[in-house]
Symmetry: C2
Subunit: 381 residues, 2 copies
Amino acid sequence: MEQTYFSSNFRLGILGGGQLGKMMLYTTRKWDIQTYVMDDAETAPAFEGSTVFFVGDIMNYDAVMEMGEQVDVLTIEIENVNVQALQDLEDKGIAVSPSASVLNLIRNKSRQKEFYRSQNIPTSPFETYDSPKKDHGREFPFIWKSAEGGYDGKGVKVIRNQDDLKELPEQPCLYEDMIDFDLELAVIVARNASGEMKTYPVVEMEFHPEANQVEYVLCPARISDDISNKAREVALKVSEAFNHVGLLAVEMFLTKDGEILVNEVAPRPHNSGHYSIEGSMTDQFEQHIRCVCNLPLGDTESVISSVMVNLVGEENHTGDVIYDGIEEILSMPGVTPHIYGKKQTRPFRKMGHVTIVNKDINEARKIAEEVKKKIRVIAAE
Amino acid sequence: MEQTYFSSNFRLGILGGGQLGKMMLYTTRKWDIQTYVMDDAETAPAFEGSTVFFVGDIMNYDAVMEMGEQVDVLTIEIENVNVQALQDLEDKGIAVSPSASVLNLIRNKSRQKEFYRSQNIPTSPFETYDSPKKDHGREFPFIWKSAEGGYDGKGVKVIRNQDDLKELPEQPCLYEDMIDFDLELAVIVARNASGEMKTYPVVEMEFHPEANQVEYVLCPARISDDISNKAREVALKVSEAFNHVGLLAVEMFLTKDGEILVNEVAPRPHNSGHYSIEGSMTDQFEQHIRCVCNLPLGDTESVISSVMVNLVGEENHTGDVIYDGIEEILSMPGVTPHIYGKKQTRPFRKMGHVTIVNKDINEARKIAEEVKKKIRVIAAE
């Protein structure tokens, strides 16, 4: 009698023990899948709940190889890992998802954009450079992006005039047109090694104006069925083009002309899918594990409408974290806070999120605003 | 700035590390609540996910005191714990829920039934004895129950004639009338220390004819609103009568005359509430933690109809467990297996459960039967 994934001999590995790794462990605990996690300290959110926790640097070749050789399936919760090690583990027969080649494509924003162009995937007009170019002929304002190392709004700037260019670091980058968009949307695509594919409903992202981080995610997005279908089709095309295994979160602009343009992708569970824990038939973390273990995909449809609010550290607060007002929001129906377990807060650090479910998406959005007013992530005095 | 439950100084303790303890940890991980768990071996389902795991016998006074003195709030996942230790911990100011007095009442089925009689809570006619009585004057068949130690159908027998009495152990017991019931129902009541109370919808339990274990749980029960309201009222009355803090699962008979009779109760999350992880606005494990930590209660209503199927060990199978067919049921929409992580199976041992959600309860019930046919908990050869 053979048993693969639900056997006590099977080992899953996750590189990165932040909140995404932690939320993957909800499923590995539910299914009793033995899971090895690596991050740089035992204070990482995914320490508890892991079967074996490796203290190590996921950018370090030897560290990744050491853990990777002990697992059957290896995945990531963040793109900044040692890709050479992933390549070598693949060559040794470990099932690595996302693959080294996909990570190489995605981690470099210039390569990612060139890839969209080559695959006829709609994206905003852009040009790539080895270093910031003064003589660019592009209309102001436009967007500068560092080719590598950007995360959560770092490595991205609006360039308003020629002077702004002087402050940029001398490194590979791209300039792209600033898009006059109506909405920012995202679609999560699930794909397993057998090629089974499903998309989650289109979500709408509202960004915090200063932090350039997602503030609210609404599922479903308040758009027409036509736009929704178009967005899901584009997302499927992107996942197929990458021949990607796992979740792929595809962030998009909906332009004022009703056009869908792919902005960027993440090859893993994503902030835009956190609502799915409470809102979906199958949550994104379970779905990611289904994908990387080549299990049948779960139903991606929603059971109820939902809004997700990120809990980020307040400005001017650094130190031991306090979730001021959390007991108050627990008394609001349909409101579920998630606390990642980071001991220290700092301005705009992602410390948790709150999901608000309601039969009516507009009502959920209203409650989300109430939640936002009542809870504050601050530092103890 | 004060913070109680969501503070890094707060400790929750759980006596018992089986599947119920394990599923409570889903919430403590979600909320980053540091949780101490005690059970007799590190192979217990709740080992992973606990902050600190104590290897110890929860029936042992010293063991319970040792862990109990290190936590702020102490709860249980099973009634068979050292109650004297709980009493002494309460006296030292630890918030213990359920209380020692409630456990003393509930753990003894004779005392439990006498309590219902004294509180005018409807229950089947019965008599209690210090040992099985030959001269009882009760019509056959009737039910014999051992006053203490019964669990999952042990300590319960149908007495069909005077000869059956000879096989009974010489210990305190009760005889009760066999009820000609239509359905077995259950209502979970949540109550926190502030006295806030909520009931979950009425569920319907279908029992396995041989194992005397719940085979299917349907939420909502297929009954009229009148019966449903009556059952919820009776359940509230029971929780109030006990002055109980935590979840109280109230099992009931719906007689052929439409009467509700309380059968027995469990002062903790219960098999009849497992569906709530997928089916409810707030799952029963989160709700129990809200109760014992005196947090506001969550919404108990369902987001979708659901049926829960227990995964128990097949007859004639003892040894290393295999979940035959699990990958097949994963491809069925709305089907979520939960694997408790017990390494060894034996006949009728609870090894996991499967939740089936669907907009239509009758459709969910049909799919549940398919699931039951496809998955088998067997031993490796």
